[in-house]
């Protein structure tokens, strides 16, 4: 052993330079000659060269100290009412600090999370704070509380969160060697937190172990709920972009759902998927994509295409199978048997590639897990062979580009087939066959769009729209010589536009189709009537009730004359006209027609026919509007019973009855049942129709009314504002549904005592289409607006509404 005095070092340093600049192989020989030259230094030099070998092995100083510059300068800084103490984490979004109140008013440690994005100009800051306040109301024992959201003087957004001292759930489970049942029990706490958030319309989007902490006392806490919501739209980096931007690493989307990777619509089903991955990890110790490491590209492929290995197979195939089982307080074979069957099935359903095939809600997932724990049969059936063979088709449906190509081919093929059918008409036999074929293709294309619900199609609805837009152009030029086929194609495409919620497009195509068919086939031809029926329906969806009514009455007369009063199409016309009348507030007339349709359909189609049920439901809704709640409730319950049995829980008509029944229960004051039912309805509708569909919006509105009825004004307001945002964007500011939402917000303002805002909102609603369905006297007598009575401005507003109503009916 020697010491390195400065003098010693200076003496030896030049020789060290020499030795280091030599290739390793020549060093030994050089050292020998050096020994002869400087016997006093050779041992030291040799030791130092040995030291050099250790450097590489130990990676000595190869990685710099953690970039501390941010921390250096943030420590001690005061953010809002909090003083930063020390950094506790660094996420993709920004840094997280432990902090305390700077005014010492509360002795409580919090976490301050800086969000690394700009809130943007034009109300971005306001929006951020508002959303932050909403999230702050999301109180749940298993959700880390959001205490505050604000902006630093430099407009850097930050959140103040409950500080959770715990460890990620997977590590916690392993360290405590929790068995399968204990893990599931803990996981159920996670589910209750997610359920609560979903009920408040908040999707997490980023559920993963580091966001699910377990404290020492065994309490689960979910972090970062709704943070994605705070980001300005367009700021949310999809995991797919993260992969391309970051080249994997820390941001590899291990817990991303397929729709996140393919930039599809994010819904509550996205969280269901991430929860499935988390449960899979907790039960098997492995990611469903199989043992890593995964390159980002592999992972994306695994997420979007590869069916995960069954959990029970995973635990036996792993190299560390024994230790995985031990951490679950069991043996490998026992663990395999435990996972096999129900748990495999439950995981399989949660991890479906297609969001609509997953559990419809977190509640149903929790329900199955609870059944498993209680050893009751679960609701989900194992995958059938049919399911497995259908995989290929399903996969392609999610591939946006592919679907688009397929569509072009179908449209081209359809046009060709139709032309063929026409030319072949002379040869009767083959004409019939070709025609059937053409009809099948027509149905196919129509279904293709109807099936793709708007939520899934949102990413590709633009593409779909482009194709349709192009096809409509092709129709004008390419098929103009063949008006009959042209009109049929127009009807088909209009139906597709209608399914996508693009009503004005559907309307213009149908208007032309009616014109063409009227000219070519005559005004009384069944095909002409069909186009007119569709056009009436679209007009009603657009909220243009007066026009819809006029057209529907005209069509109905023709229907009766041409098809007869008992024809199913005639009965449907009657039903739809009654719906329009109800929307116009003319309930008595609506009821008469609805009964006629219902009776006729029962007689002609039978009591279980979907069309009959639709009329029965419609009648129930009208009776409710007339205030005969007990009668409406009885009829709707009956309807719903049959629908659940015959049509299933996800059918649009079933959903409509659920909505009507919930509404009725609310009117009767049975708020708890109403709310439960309406939340279920909304949950399914979000999944089936997508979060921005007209039907979903209507349901959000009713849920808000139910919540309002229970005095929870803030919650109702949140719901209404969300619905209004969507409605303005999707339906437009002049749509009666938009006006309804604005009016209801006005009622909330009045109930909260904010007269100014109430008056402004009601005025806005009156000026933008409210009077199409509400009389001024109804506003005057609305009990929600009691606080405005006696205010001269309210009286003036009523007078104004009367004038608006008058001018509306004169149009």
């Amino acid at each position: 052993m020697f010491t390195l005095s400065p003098e010693r070092w200076q003496e030896i340093s030049p020789y060290l330079d020499q030795a280091l600049s030599l290739p390793e192989a020549e060093r030994a020989a050089w050292l020998e000659s050096f020994r002869a030259q400087r016997p006093d230094l050779v041992d030291v030099l040799q030791e130092l060269l040995k030291e050099h070998g250790a450097l590489a092995r130990e990676h000595f100083l190869e990685r710099g100290p953690m970039e501390p510059a941010n921390e250096l300068f943030l420590r001690g800084r005061t953010i809002g009412a909090y003083r930063l103490i020390s950094p506790i984490g660094q996420g993709g979004m920004g840094s997280v600090w432990l902090a305390e109140r700077s005014d010492g008013r509360f002795d409580r440690r919090v976490a301050v999370k800086f969000l690394n994005f700009a809130v943007g100009a034009q109300g971005g800051a306001e929006r951020f704070k508002r959303e932050g306040r909403i999230l702050g109301q999301l109180a749940h024992p298993h959700v880390a509380e959001l205490i505050d959201a604000g902006l630093t003087p430099n407009d850097e957004p930050y959140l103040v969160l409950e500080h959770i001292d715990g460890e990620p759930i997977d590590q916690y489970c392993d360290q405590h060697a929790l068995n399968v049942d204990a893990r599931i029990t803990l996981f159920l706490d996670v589910l209750s937190a997610v359920t609560h958030a979903h009920a408040n319309l908040i999707v997490h989007r980023d559920i993963k172990p580091s966001n699910v902490l377990v404290r020492n006392d065994g309490q689960v806490k979910l972090l970062d709920f709704g943070i994605a919501k705070l980001l300005p739209s367009g700021e949310v980096p999809s995991p797919a972009t993260q992969v391309t931007l970051e080249g994997g690493g820390a941001l590899t989307p291990y817990f991303a759902a397929p729709e996140q990777v393919t930039a599809g619509a994010i819904t509550t089903a996205t969280d269901v998927y991430a929860l499935g991955v988390l449960l899979y990890l907790l039960l098997t110790g492995r990611h469903p994509a199989g043992p890593g490491p995964h390159s980002p590209a592999d992972l994306v492929k695994a997420i979007t295409e590869t069916e995960p290995l069954r959990a029970s197979d995973t635990v036996t195939s792993a190299d560390d199978a024994k230790s995985v089982a031990e951490k679950r307080a069991t043996a490998t074979e026992k663990l395999r048997r435990q996972l096999r069957g129900d748990l495999d099935t439950i995981l399989g359903k949660a991890l479906k590639k297609n969001p609509r095939e997953r559990y419809g809600s977190v509640v149903t997932l929790a329900d199955d897990l609870q059944r498993y724990l209680k050893q009751q049969p679960i609701s989900t059936r194992p995958d059938t062979l049919r399911y497995r063979t259908a995989k290929f088709v399903r996969r392609n449906r999610t591939a946006v580009a592919f679907a688009a190509l397929a569509l072009v081919a179908v449209i081209a093929g359809l046009a060709g087939t139709l032309i063929q059918a026409r030319t072949a008409r002379r040869q009767r036999d083959s004409a019939v066959r070709e025609r059937d074929r053409a009809n099948r293709v027509t149905e196919f294309i129509t279904d293709m769009f109807k099936v793709s619900d708007p939520s899934e199609a949102r990413g590709n609805s633009i593409t779909a729209r482009e194709i349709l837009d192009k096809a409509s152009k092709d129709i004008d030029t390419g098929l103009s010589k063949d008006p009959e086929i042209q009109a049929q194609m127009m009807s088909v495409m209009a139906d597709v536009y209608d399914g996508l919620g693009l009503y004005p497009r559907a309307e213009s195509l149908l208007t032309r189709a009616v014109e063409i068919r009227r000219g070519v086939l005559g005004p009384q031809h069944p095909d002409t009537l069909e186009s007119k029926r569709l056009l009436g329906w679209v007009l009603q969806e657009e909220g243009r009730y007066a026009e819809a009514e006029k057209l529907q009455r005209e069509t109905l007369e023709d229907d009766r004359r041409v098809l007869g009063s008992d024809h199913p199409d005639t009965l449907s016309s009657i039903n739809r006209l009654s719906g329009t009348l109800m929307l116009e507030g003319r309930y008595a007339q609506a009821e008469t027609l609805a009964r006629e349709a219902f009776d006729g359909k029962q007689r002609v189609l039978g009591p279980d026919d979907p069309s009959t049920l639709s009329s029965m439901n419609n009648l129930g809704g009208i009776i409710r509007m007339e205030g005969r709640y007990a009668e409406a409730e009885k009829l709707l319950r009956e309807t719903l019973d049959i629908e659940r049995r015959v049509l299933g829980p996800d059918h649009p008509t079933t959903l409509s009855s659920m909505y009507n029944l919930a509404y009725t229960l609310k009117e009767e004051g049975h708020y708890a049942e109403a709310e439960e039912l309406q939340r279920e309805t909304l949950d399914i509708e979000r999944r089936v129709f997508g979060p921005e569909h007209l039907t979903t919006l209507t349901s959000m509105n009713v849920l808000a009314l139910i919540v309002k009825g229970q005095g929870r004004y803030a919650e109702a307001e949140t719901l209404l504002r969300q619905a209004l945002d969507i409605s303005r964007r999707v339906l437009g500011p002049e749509h009666p549904r938009t006006a309804d939402l604005v009016y209801n917000l006005g009622c909330i303002a009045a109930l909260k005592g904010d007269r100014e805002q109430a008056l402004a909102l009601i005025r806005e609603a009156v000026d933008h289409g409210l009077m199409a369905r509400l009389g001024a006297s109804e506003i005057e007598q609305d009990p929600d607006l009691k606080s405005l009575h006696g205010d001269p401005r309210f009286a003036a507003l009523i007078a104004h509404a009367k004038k608006q109503a008058a001018s509306q009916s004169s149009h």
């Binding site: 030291e51 000595f60 941010n70 984490g89």
Partner: protein, 191 residues
């Protein structure tokens, strides 16, 4: 009361190089506050960047101070050598205070992945710093290389350009410095 006018950095650097120890302290203090000021400004301007690199901070400090001090400002290499030493001081002070807090139980790790990956923990950072002070006495050039490379994150090529030597030379100096430090820390631990 009029403020005592501060001699500019080039004057301080010259005095320091002449062996004026009070000038060394003042130079250190001036650079220290300058770097802090710059960092704070950057943090404020860019809205909390995830990493505010020491390298970019030093570059910026050089550009600004050179601009202020005018044509008489000394060369970039000398400035960087001083500033990198100051940066080391900042980092070591910071690591010490963090270490103290951890031991005091004030600091709980929840999900600090970055910390786990940090190759050099706070305590060995302090040892490196002490060994570096010794190295400065033995061969100050090597000490500067460590400040630039390890604490400030400059690449070999950047350092080579700064000092107008070959990259190979810088690499060899870096190896020598590491040998010294490794040996020093090991013998300190054993003795």
């Amino acid at each position: 009361m009029p403020l005592e006018s501060e001699p500019n950095l080039s004057a301080l650097m010259e005095a320091a190089e002449r062996g004026d120890s009070s000038a060394v302290d003042r130079l250190f203090a001036a650079l220290y506050s300058e770097l802090r000021r710059l960092a704070r400004r950057e943090l404020g301007r860019q809205g909390l960047p995830i990493t505010l690199g020491a390298t970019s901070l030093l570059h910026q400090a050089y550009l600004e101070i050179a601009g202020k001090d005018g044509t008489s400002f000394p060369d970039r290499a000398r400035f960087m050598a001083y500033a990198a030493g100051v940066m080391r001081g900042l980092i070591i002070d910071y690591a010490r205070s963090r270490h103290a807090q951890k031991r005091g139980g004030l600091f709980e790790i929840t999900s600090l992945e970055a910390d786990a990956e940090n190759a050099v923990d706070d305590r060995s950072l302090a040892q490196v710093s002490e060994a570096l002070d010794e190295l400065a006495k033995a061969e100050s050039e090597l000490c500067e290389i460590v400040d630039l490379k390890f604490f400030c994150g400059f690449t070999f090529a950047e350092i080579a350009a700064m000092r107008t030597v070959s990259e190979r030379t810088v690499q060899r100096q870096w190896e020598k410095a590491r040998i010294y430090l490794h040996r020093k820390i090991r013998t300190d631990l054993e003795s």
